[in-house]
Symmetry: C2
Subunit: 355 residues, 2 copies
Amino acid sequence: MRKLALALALFSGFGLGASEKGNSEDMKLLEMAKQYFKPLPKVAENPVTPREVKLGKMLYYDPRLSKSGLISCNTCHNLARYGVDNLPTSIGHRWAIGPRNAPTVYNAAIHIAQFWDGRAKDVEEQALGPIVNPIEMANTEENVVKTLKSIPEYVELFKKAFPNEKDPVKYVNIGKAIGAFERTLMTPSGFDEFLKGNTDALTEQEKRGLKTFIEVGCAGCHNGAGVGGHMFAKFGAITEYWKATYPYVLKEKPTIKVDFGRFGVTKNEADIFVFKVPSLRNIEHTYPYFHDGSVWSLEDAVRIMAKTQLGKELTDQQVKDIVAFLKALTGEIPKHALEVPELPPSRENTPKPQF
Amino acid sequence: MRKLALALALFSGFGLGASEKGNSEDMKLLEMAKQYFKPLPKVAENPVTPREVKLGKMLYYDPRLSKSGLISCNTCHNLARYGVDNLPTSIGHRWAIGPRNAPTVYNAAIHIAQFWDGRAKDVEEQALGPIVNPIEMANTEENVVKTLKSIPEYVELFKKAFPNEKDPVKYVNIGKAIGAFERTLMTPSGFDEFLKGNTDALTEQEKRGLKTFIEVGCAGCHNGAGVGGHMFAKFGAITEYWKATYPYVLKEKPTIKVDFGRFGVTKNEADIFVFKVPSLRNIEHTYPYFHDGSVWSLEDAVRIMAKTQLGKELTDQQVKDIVAFLKALTGEIPKHALEVPELPPSRENTPKPQF
């Protein structure tokens, strides 16, 4: 309410307690920011129905999507932890350790593609990957469909979510439903308020950080509604990334694996070390950082990025300001995301967990 | 509303569509049932404050109680699955397989003691066990306290929950807070309505099942507000239990382990094969059954119990009726249990997950 009043006051030419100069600088920053960023949409585009979302949320939280009956989407993309597991790389079936850091599902639906290497085109396609990945949920398409078909409550929900289909309980529809749920997982923040014109929604330090973020060049890749997530880029544009991160990795592990990124998908040499530029929304909560989860400190991550991507050494003040801005990207988790649905019981013909 | 109207009508001598005879039989059954059972309390006794409950719920859902940072109380006692993992025995740190089936946390606070062997006296003490059990969460008291102390939001919540303590972030208080949360996890059902006098809250088959349940002798052990949970008893009072369950176990595993139960705690020979009588509330959802999770079918479990505990072979109709009654024990999950709190982020001095 206070913010709204201030915003209205600013639009009508009255700055409450802010100098004219302050206001005009704020407006300049706002105009500059608008060239790079956009507020989050309410729902990522794609027509989704409440019935798909309802089914998708239930599937998201149901560990029976996994072979073991223990691992759900929420295990690695914990919605109470801003959609991640806060581990360097995830733990899957029989404690297998995955090769890359689990990205957050919040705001993921607006990204250019899914996974660090962009190998899935959207959240609907992405959701189907981990279910059958042997080191993640380790299930088979057949077994998960059989599981869901054995539970009458699920059959009913699939019928309602896909009313025009004869045989709605099928693998591709699991992805559609989970994707529909993920499209509702937007986390608007103070930065969105700012972009909509309320220049008081950010503190002075956060604004300074935003300005630095743009001027130093971060916004060259981390831009758009996701503040990242909308393009691919080479990690290590200026200097090899692992030279910056290996001191961190070697603290934990005796070896360091160099990840070729998108090259693995396209086999195009130009894609060696190319990854999707991660969204920086909620970055305060989605540590540790980078595709390998090598770095736990946000300040360190900012320094490494400036060095490897832009060839710049930031001052302590610049780092602090940028980090302050990045923390202003922490958004509000939509209430329904954390209202977990009761899961219907298995039946006698439900396939048993295998672990 | 309909049920309330009927109950009032019955009390005032008018049965809507039910014969006089039916009513008097219902009242007889109700009187008989009241000798064995009690409705659930709203909260299991022990003074608990909303602040303790709030902290306890956050801790319950926080995977940082575990060494790996992956396993929370909710991993094995999934509140969306009636407080269990629906596995024969649970999966813990580095995929260790536990020796006994995870009991539900719903209504557990009213039990005579905690764990299958009763080795913890209450939920406050119980909650502290798995955190430091090497095959469950595998943490140390020191590390978990250090973790919580590093997160200012937790320090604040502990101060509020334990306002008279100088150093409130301590191991024993983790158990107190989680216990306080668990004391609110009561799931009243149609059976409680019945016990309170509304004889229409159960169907004819459910009432027949209740009558059979009492007459056959099940209520000799499964009684009280928990319909079990209030005493210890030897599994296999008449015939060795594993002779009844091994055909089920051998389907899954090449060996069968005979569990000595409470003897492991007391070293008293009289306690060989003695376990806490499990509560049958929500039993429809808490499969697979018995301390070893050997049996997935509720009908089979009922038959085995009649045989091993009472020396009786039940007819198909008796089994079906008892199962119908047991399903009427499925209660309502309290809304707040499934409203997951956002978890505050770790800080730079938070101990890193080890896996």
